[in-house]
Structures are given as structure tokens and as C-alpha cells.
Symmetry: C2
């Protein structure tokens, strides 16, 4: 059974890798771009669309605002990228916002950053996969009813790939990133060229104007009303989702090949340039071709139809959009487990997240991320637009904290050029703080309130875990350097008859102590006399204690007997030895009372009581009671088996 | 925690009862009628309706067949009741069809009877509860959408009541039975009186005739066609559901007060008389008032409306119908656990079904029955008509086997009057065998095939369980009467540092053997040297074995080390002692690696390896490692703690 499991695990996740192969799994710049920047670049698949969705109440007038809003966002992208470039060099070992905020602003701000990042990573997976599936269902509308199932399946596949380890995911994922980059460039260049040649007229063509019906509906008196300002701010806030993922590279510096800081910084530059081009290009084309969001087709798919027609190039656009969004989700699969491991090392997350698994990947973090993202996709029916309002808020908290942290860092370090560096990070912090406030104010009722509740809850949880580990390590700290002591040790063996499993338990009991008591719980008055007679005939030198149980409970008399032995706090040590039947087949477990389990549970919270189950393997040749009969034949005269020499290689510490 | 559970259990199910109160829980005749005959009597709520449903394709012509069919069924009732009256006296200890068939026809027939009875009891609960809820929704049609939920809730309540024990259910349930009997008598008498007075004309009045549309639709040429014969046979088969439950009293003879056989026989007579009267009465009234089944109102409810109007008497009829049907389900709650216990005692069902619980009820049987019945109600959406085709088949198998068994019994015993007794049982057997064949033939496609598959499957399962217990008891049988032997015992203690839990495990290990090895699995090269230095300084006389683990697995090196010690089949005994952290709060369990659990699982199938977890209770004052420090202070010179005397009362066997 164990072998089958091991073989299955190897087929699915590959053979175990030794620790010294860790360095070989690191990323080149090209692979790093594919693995870590896709989150950022892929947001062109939904950022323009989200802005247009908010502005849709203005009708086609929305299109006149989308390009200026996008330009402001691109300015923010450049600012944030420059800020993070500084972080990469200041923190070449990686760690990102959590490390920067913790080091420079203290634990509380570090935890705020950590909680924001954790929610952000989970939402990265949910949003990217939902949007990627939307790219597919735009091309094949008949798949729309299966969107949620497809999304869940994609996450499971991603999880499996990541459990295999980081380099393989980099290699397997480089091609689609570069295909997407090429096709997006082709889309933008062709679109602008055909637009300039006047080849195209959008289906809903006409001069850009304010639709009077929509304008009246929203109660906007004129284009300068307060409601319009609010709408534009909300459109801006939604579009800022394009900036998410900028921090991924600085969090993952440690995954790059040496010189890792320089490689990471170059990759960050490429990423920002690509994003800026694609985002501006998409927004420009959307305005030019007058594309508005619809429920069943994405804006990018509509642009593909206008510019490429419905042929192979269009399909390539949709497939590569899906692929890059899957890679975006993969970014989170690289960063979430790494952050969990750091938090775990600092005692803020369960220890199980700290260690790398067989394939040098952080298995538990990967599994936890996949499960949480699947819950979100399921709860929100795989709808990108309902997930987006939760998404960018956490990111902007991190941006702000990280950059404020960098200001403090430069202030303290007084490195060459610290003044202008601090100023740059300061401007970045101010800008992202403003964006954060805009996000919360404009999207509060759309779902932002959920994030406002969840992030403090996560912080409380992290603190609670930390407190537990702190008090735990204080409690288990062992200072004395004393020799070990021996205690008086009583062994209690519950028996239900003279059978081989009981004999096995008694052999074990007499091996570990001289003070052994067999106890029989008598639930059925009248049966016990035969057992007592048999026991006397057996004559093994162990007393049989018979306890009547008028209420037919087997467990309670045993517990009471052991309680009486230990006298609540007395110095005695009691071991309860029970025989445990281990059947050959799983269903046979249902046919045996789980007495061993019940006894173990009953004594779990009692100090100085140890419960030992002596397994009796049904259908197995060698076992304790057989040994007994065997020794009996060998040493019948003295009744004591000779002590066999121990044959085992031990390494002296 | 354990105390809270105990208190909650006492509030819900009452205080535990001692075994010697068993006799006081037995049934009087009046209570016995309420508890055991309701299954039988309550079938008037649906038997007439099921016959009419089958005949409905004939239109109102159906009404001309229902009275003759009912009369034949009443004849069968009398025959079956007379047969079972003989069984009661022949088997005064109870046991019913299973016991009779097993004793006289052999194990195979006994198991067929047992399997049929088990399915019958489960269906009794599902059918009765579904039909009872239909009585309520007939009165309150707004409850129709909640029928399934109401059914499931009723079964849960029944389960809870039965877990409290049998006498209380008898007392609580007597009143509704007698109320139902009185109201049904009132309905029949009033209905016949008003009919004779010519007070009434049914809403769909007119002379009984074959509806030409329906007749044409079913393709019946004339009233004597083969299709008509088949329909009438099916109507008869459906109506035979009225006979189910006749066996309940003979199965439960043991629950009656002494003289239990005579009391049970008298009760059986009452029951048959009441059923015959009510069933004939209902069928007669249905014909007279021309009542046909409708999806939303039961036939009995329609009769109530016609005869009582819509007032208090009508509601009393509906409520008491519901109540008697709940009691019918309760019959199964008395019989299913009792049969399970008998089968368990014979080794055909898991042992957990054999023993009475705290309240002298067979808790596991009650819970199993409730769960299975709830699954059926849920699967069939609480629809009585779809459950009925599965229902009566099992019962008629039992009737036949039981009566054939009685024929053999009289033949063997040659008791006074054995000839006429055997003849009576033989006629009964023949009649019920014919009914069984009619049931299978006419209802095969309606669901009877499910039962034809399920019953053999249950028989196979019972046999498989029996085979396991047989080979188990042969395997564990201990014949030798030898003194116990001592083996060479090596104790392995995995350590992860010098902490109090580890010290506790080491104290325990040195207490149970002289050959103790501490092992440290080194997953992170470089950390171990400090531990080795600390260990040498600690100087406790236990060797530390350091095992490098390049693949970072902690478990595998421990397993390999123990394997090397035991040499697969060698005579050594190895105990692995692990410290197990027991936190104060449940969620804290998630923060600690479950090493103890993994190690226990890894060695579960290895002979001669015992895994012992030494619990370390977080936040608790007294524990092993404290004891050690304590003794250290007392006996610092010699380093050995004195052995404390054991203070505990033991009863010598």
C-alpha cells in the first residue's frame, strides 16, 4: 500500500530531489520573466475592460475617458517599478514588502504587509484563472456553462505542476509568455496601422458623445458633476489592477541566478516596459474601435475579432491570453509558498509551511493556495468582475508600506545618493497611498469591505499563532543537564479473554515493567467465573483484576482504575497496554471495536499516563505471541529467553 | 470537555440504566399494541390508496375492484396472523422469521430471512414517515415543498427517543395509537351511516363505469382482457402492503411482560382484527364516496373531508394518521436493532451491534437504521408511491420462509395437534409464496428489481462478515498455558533537540528498557553540530545517533533504522517512543507536526514494532519531565528516585 502510494506520487510529482540541487533550480532572466512577470503583464487582459465596465453607464462617452485614465496608470507603473528596483538592490536576498516593512517599520507593519500579500496571492490565482477561462469561453461560447469547472480544473493542474518544483514550471511556461508578447504586439501594431489607414469602422460607429439616456439615468447634470468625478475615480481604481504583480520580482529575487539582484532588476525593467505598451495599446484600440464590455465576450476578444477577424490569429490571441493568465496564477504559486515559508520561519504561520518537500517545492503552501483560490472561484462563480473589487486593495497596502519602509531604510543607511533615493520612494509611497484611499472609497460597497474585514482577521491569526509558538518554546525549553531518573512504573493490561492478542500485550507488558496488572471489565455477570478459572490455570504470574460494570461501559472502569493508581498528581507512571487488531483489509476494521483508540483518547489529557497499543497483525506470521511460544520451546526450563545481540549500524553523535 | 459531552448526552438521552433494570423495561399488552402493531395498523393510511393508484388507468371503474381485492387481502391477514400465533408459542423467546428459518431450514434460509427483514425494517421507516408527512401536507398544502426536510427531521426525533430506551417510547406513544383507533372507527361508522342515509353525493358522482378515454388509452379491449387481469393482480400486490408488520409482534415476544407468549398472542389477535376492520372500511368508503388518488392529497384525507368536513375532527384524523405512522416507523426502531443484535451475536453483523448502550437500548442499531432510512427518504424525495414497490417483497419472503420453517418445526416436534398445525402453516406458506411471486412479476419494472439485487448482496455481506469472525477467532485462539517470556527490547527515541517533551520521552524510554537509542534525523546540514555538543554536555547515558537525510524526509530514516534493528522477522522487539504535544486548544493541533501519528501509521503493519506516544501536555503542571527535575532535587546524590508504593484497590480474580 505504502509502495503504491510512493510510486503514484513519483509518477505525478517526479522523483525526490536532494537538497544540494537547490541552486540548480534557480531562474535565468528569460525564465524569470516568464515565471514572475506574467501576473503583471497578463493584467492587460482585464484592466482596460474593468475601467470600461465602470464607465459603461456613460454609454460610448466612456471611451473618451479610458485613454487618459490609462496614461495616469502607466505613470504609476513606472513609479512603482522604479521604487521596487531600489528594493531589489537593498534586499538582494528577496523577501519583498513583508521583509522591508518589518525591518524598517516594525513587526505590526510587517504583518499588515504579509496579510495583504497573502490575500493578494490568493486573489491573483482566482482572478487570473477566471479571466483566462473567460478568454476561452469568448472563443467557444458553448463552454460558458462549464466555466467554473474549467477554472477549478486549471487550478488543480497548476498545483500539480508546482508540486514538481520550480525549474520545470519555468521551462514549460516560457514559450506561451513570449507567444503572448508577440501576438499582443501584432494586435497593437496591426490595429493602429489599419486604424490610421481608415480601413475599419466599428459596428457601433459614430462620433464619441454622451448618451443622453444613460447620462439622465445616473443623474449627471453635466460632464463636470460630482458623480462624473466619482465615476472616473472608480474607473481609475479598477484600472489600477494593471499594477498588481509589480512586486513579484522583488519578492522572488532569491530565485534568480547569480548575480540575482542585477538579473532581477533587469527583468523588472523589461516587465514594466511591456506592461505599459500593452495597456496603453489596448486602451487606445478599445477607444478607436469603440469596443464596450459585454457579459459573454471579453474586450480583448472583441478587439481580436475586429483586427484579426475570426481566424487562426484570433484563436492564437485567445489561447495565449489564457496561457499568460495561467502563468499569472503561477506567479502566486511561486510567491505564496515562499512568503508562507518566511512567515513560518518567523513563527507566524504553522511549521508545516516552512520545509521544502521531496521536489524542493514548498508543498503545503502550494496546496493551501490552490484550495483557497478554488473556494473563491467557486463562491464567485468564476466571474472576474466580482472578484476584481477585492483584488487590488491588498496590493496597494503593500506598495505603500514597502516604499515607506524604503524611505526609512535610506534614512538609516545614509548610502551614497540616499537623499534622492528616499525622495523617489517617498513620492512612490504617497502616490500608492492615494490610490489605496481611492480604492477603498470608490469600491467599498462593491466588495472592498470584505478585504477591510479579512486583512485585520489574518493579522490577528498570525499574531495568535506567533504567541502560541512563543509560549510553546518557552514552555518546552529544557535547562537542566541532569542524568535521567527511573520512576515507579505500573502497567495495566485490559483483557477480554485468553487470546493470542492478549498474550502478546501481556508479553510486552512484562517486558517493560515488573508491576503488571491485567484487568477484566465484567459487563455480563456470570461469564467471568470461567475466565478466572482459566486465568488461574494459565498461571503466568500476572494478577487478574475483575471490575464489575453494571452500566456496561468498558472504558469507564479502566479509566477509574488508572485514576486510582495515579492519584491525580502522584509520582507514579502508568502505562496502559492494549492489543490492537490490525486486519488485512480496510473494511475489516469496521468489524472490531476500536477499544485501543478509545483508551488512547480517554487518557490523552491525563499526565503521567501513557497508552501503548501492541499491534496484532491478522494473517501475519511473526508476532509477539508467536515469539513467546517459540522462546518457550527454546528455554523451557528457566522460562527466560536469552537476550539476542543487537545488530544495527549506529552513527555516534 | 469529556464532562460537557457526558452532561449533554444525559440531557438528550437520560441517565445510564443498570443492567438489572432490563426486566422493568418490558411491555404490557396495551403498550405492546401501541409499540409493535402500529406498523401493521397504520398501513390503512396507504394500502387502499396504492391499489387505487394502480387501477387509476381504468378511471372510476377502479372503484368497483377495490372492495373485492381488499377482501382477499383481509383473508390473507387472518391467515398470516394465525400462522404467527403458532410461532409465538413455539418460540416464546422471540426472534421471528430469522430464528424460525435458521432453526428449521438451515443457515442459508435464515440469512435470506434476515436480509429480507433488514431491508423491510429500513423501508418501514422510510415509507411510514413519507406517508405520515403526506397526511400533514394534505392538511397544510403550503408545507408540500418542505416534505423531505420534515421527513428527515421526524426520523432524527424518532432516533433520539429510541436512544432513550424502549419503555419511555411505549408510554409516550400509547395515546396516539388509541386516538387513531377511535377516530378511524368514527370515520367508518359515520361514513357508512351517512352513506346509508343518502346524505352524501360525491363531487365526481355518477354510476360506476369504465371511463372510455382511459380504457382506450391503455389499450384494454374489454373488461376480461389479459391487461385487466394483470392490473388487478398489481393492485392486489400493492394492497398487500397492508399485511406488512404482522410479524413484528412475534419478533418482539421477548419484549413483553411475562407470560410473554400469551400476552403477545392476544395482542396479535387484537391487531389483526383492527387492521381488517379499518382496511375493509377504508376501501368501502373510497368506493362509496368515489375517492381517487391525487398527487397532493391522500385518499384518507379526502375521505376525512367528505365525512367530517374540514373542521377539528378532520384535523384530528390527519394528526393521528401522522402519529400512528410515526409509531409504525418506531416498530422498526424496536425490531431492527434487536435483529441486528441477534445477527451480531451469531457473528453475521459487526460486534458493535451486539451490546446494549447506557440506556439499555441497542444504540448502534438505532443509529444505523435512522441513517439508512434517511438516505432512502432523501433519494426518493419522500414520495410514498415510489418507495412502496420496494417494500412488501422482503416481507413476503420472510412470511414464506417463516411458515415453511414452522411446518418443519411441527413435523419434527410431533407436539399434540402437530398435523393440523403443520397444515395451517403450510396453507399460509403457500398463500404468501404465491403473493411473493405476484409481487415480483407485477412490480419488477417498478423498482422490485432493486430488492431482487439488494437482498442477495446483503446475504453475501453477512456471510463475508461471518467468515471474517470465524477465521479471526480461530487465529487468535490461545491454547498454550505457558509462563510469559522476556525478549530483548530496544527502544528508539527520535529527538529534534533538547527540550522538555524530548526529556519526557527519554525518561519513559529508560524506564521501560536498558537499551535506549536517541536518533536525530539531520535534514539541514550544519545545524546538527550544536545539538551533538549539547548532547555530550547533557550526559544522560543515552547514545545519540545522527542520520543524515538529503531528501529532507524525517520519517524514512527512522523507519529504515528500525527496520535494520528488527532485520525483518528477527526475534527483537523494538519500541519507538515519541513525544506527542497535546495543546490546550483544538486549533493549536494544526500548529504542530503530527510526527507521532505518522510514525504510528508507518509501523502499523510491521510485526514486533510498538509505537508509544508519551503525551506532553502544554500548560499542565505535572508531567514526566517535571517529575524528573523533582526527583533530581530529592535524590541528587544517588541520581535514582525511590520507588513509591502503589496505592490502588484491586479486586483479585
Amino acid at each position: 500500500m505504502a509502495t503504491t502510494y510512493k510510486r503514484l506520487k513519483q509518477i505525478l510529482f517526479g522523483r525526490p530531489l536532494a537538497s544540494d540541487r537547490l541552486e540548480h533550480e534557480r531562474l535565468s532572466k528569460k525564465t524569470g520573466l516568464a515565471v514572475l512577470s506574467s501576473d503583471n503583464i497578463s493584467s492587460v487582459a482585464y484592466a482596460t475592460e474593468q475601467t470600461l465596465l465602470v464607465l459603461a453607464v456613460l454609454g460610448t462617452a466612456a471611451l473618451s475617458y479610458v485613454v487618459p485614465i490609462s496614461a495616469v496608470i502607466v505613470g504609476l507603473v513606472v513609479l512603482v517599478a522604479l521604487s521596487y528596483r531600489q528594493t531589489i538592490f537593498a534586499y538582494p536576498q528577496g523577501g519583498g514588502s513583508y521583509t522591508v516593512a518589518k525591518d524598517n517599520l516594525g513587526t505590526t507593519y510587517g504583518l499588515i504587509a504579509a496579510a495583504s500579500l497573502l490575500t493578494d496571492y490568493i486573489l491573483t490565482v482566482s482572478v487570473s484563472i477566471s479571466s483566462g477561462i473567460a478568454a476561452i469561453t469568448s472563443a467557444y461560447p458553448s463552454l460558458i456553462p462549464h466555466a467554473v469547472a474549467l477554472g477549478l480544473a486549471s487550478i488543480v493542474v497548476l498545483m500539480a505542476i508546482n508540486l514538481r518544483g520550480v525549474r520545470e514550471s519555468g521551462m514549460a511556461f516560457s514559450v506561451p509568455t513570449y507567444v503572448f508578447i508577440v501576438i499582443m504586439l501584432a494586435l497593437i501594431v496591426t490595429g493602429i496601422y489599419r486604424g490610421m489607414m481608415g480601413h475599419e469602422a466599428a459596428p457601433s460607429a459614430g462620433p464619441v458623445r454622451v448618451d443622453p439616456v444613460s447620462a439622465a439615468h445616473t443623474g449627471i447634470g453635466g460632464p463636470l458633476g460630482f458623480a462624473l468625478v466619482f465615476l472616473i475615480l472608480r474607473g481609475f481604481a479598477e484600472g489600477c489592477v494593471a499594477i498588481t504583480g509589480t512586486e513579484a520580482i522583488s519578492n522572488g529575487v532569491g530565485a534568480f541566478r547569480s548575480p540575482s539582484a542585477r538579473n532581477a532588476a533587469t527583468t523588472l525593467g523589461w516587465m514594466a516596459a511591456i506592461l505599459a505598451t500593452f495597456f496603453m495599446g489596448t486602451s487606445y484600440l478599445a477607444r478607436h474601435y469603440m469596443v464596450m464590455p459585454t457579459p459573454n465576450e471579453t474586450v480583448l476578444s472583441q478587439l481580436g475579432h475586429h483586427i484579426f477577424g475570426g481566424g487562426a490569429l484570433y484563436l492564437a490571441l485567445q489561447y495565449s491570453t489564457f496561457a499568460i493568465l495561467v502563468l499569472a496564477a503561477n506567479t502566486a504559486f511561486a510567491d505564496f509558498p515562499r512568503l508562507s515559508s518566511i512567515l513560518s520561519g518567523d513563527g507566524y504561520m504553522p511549521r508545516q509551511f516552512a520545509a521544502r518537500g521531496d521536489r524542493l517545492a514548498f508543498s503545503n503552501g502550494i496546496i493551501a493556495l490552490a484550495l483557497l483560490a478554488m473556494v473563491l472561484v467557486w463562491l464567485f462563480h468564476g466571474d472576474t468582475s466580482s472578484l476584481i473589487p477585492l483584488y487590488a486593495i491588498g496590493v496597494f497596502i503593500c506598495f505603500t508600506l514597502s516604499q515607506v519602509g524604503m524611505v526609512v531604510h535610506w534614512w538609516r543607511s545614509k548610502d551614497p545618493g540616499w537623499r534622492w533615493r528616499a525622495t523617489l520612494n517617498g513620492i512612490g509611497a504617497l502616490a500608492t497611498a492615494i490610490v489605496f484611499i481611492v480604492q477603498v472609497l470608490t469600491k467599498f460597497t462593491e466588495g472592498a469591505w470584505v478585504v477591510v474585514l479579512i486583512i485585520p482577521s489574518i493579522i490577528l491569526l498570525l499574531r495568535k499563532i506567533h504567541k502560541h509558538y512563543e509560549s510553546f518554546s518557552a514552555e518546552v525549553r529544557y535547562a537542566g543537564h541532569a542524568p535521567l531518573m527511573f520512576l515507579h512504573h505500573t502497567v495495566v493490561v485490559p483483557v477480554n479473554g485468553i487470546t493470542k492478542p492478549v498474550a502478546g500485550a501481556l508479553v510486552y507488558a512484562t517486558t517493560i515493567s515488573d508491576d503488571v496488572r491485567a484487568i477484566y471489565v465484567d459487563v455480563d455477570p456470570g461469564v467471568e467465573s470461567q475466565l478466572v478459572a482459566d486465568w488461574k490455570a494459565w498461571d503466568i504470574g500476572v494478577d487478574l483484576v475483575v471490575i464489575p460494570s453494571p452500566y456496561r461501559s468498558v472504558l469507564r472502569p479502566i479509566v477509574d482504575y488508572v485514576k486510582a493508581l495515579t492519584h491525580d498528581g502522584d509520582a507514579d507512571l502508568v502505562t496502559v497496554v492494549v492489543s490492537e487488531i490490525v486486519p488485512r483489509k480496510w473494511w475489516e476494521h469496521l468489524l472490531h471495536n476500536k477499544t485501543a483508540l478509545y483508551i488512547r483518547t480517554a487518557f490523552l489529557f491525563r499526565p503521567n499516563v501513557v497508552v501503548t497499543a501492541v499491534p496484532y497483525l491478522l494473517g501475519h506470521s511473526a508476532r509477539l505471541s508467536d515469539l513467546m511460544s517459540h522462546d518457550e520451546t527454546l528455554d523451557e526450563e528457566n522460562g527466560i529467553a536469552s537476550r539476542a545481540p543487537v545488530i544495527a549500524e549506529t552513527v555516534r553523535g
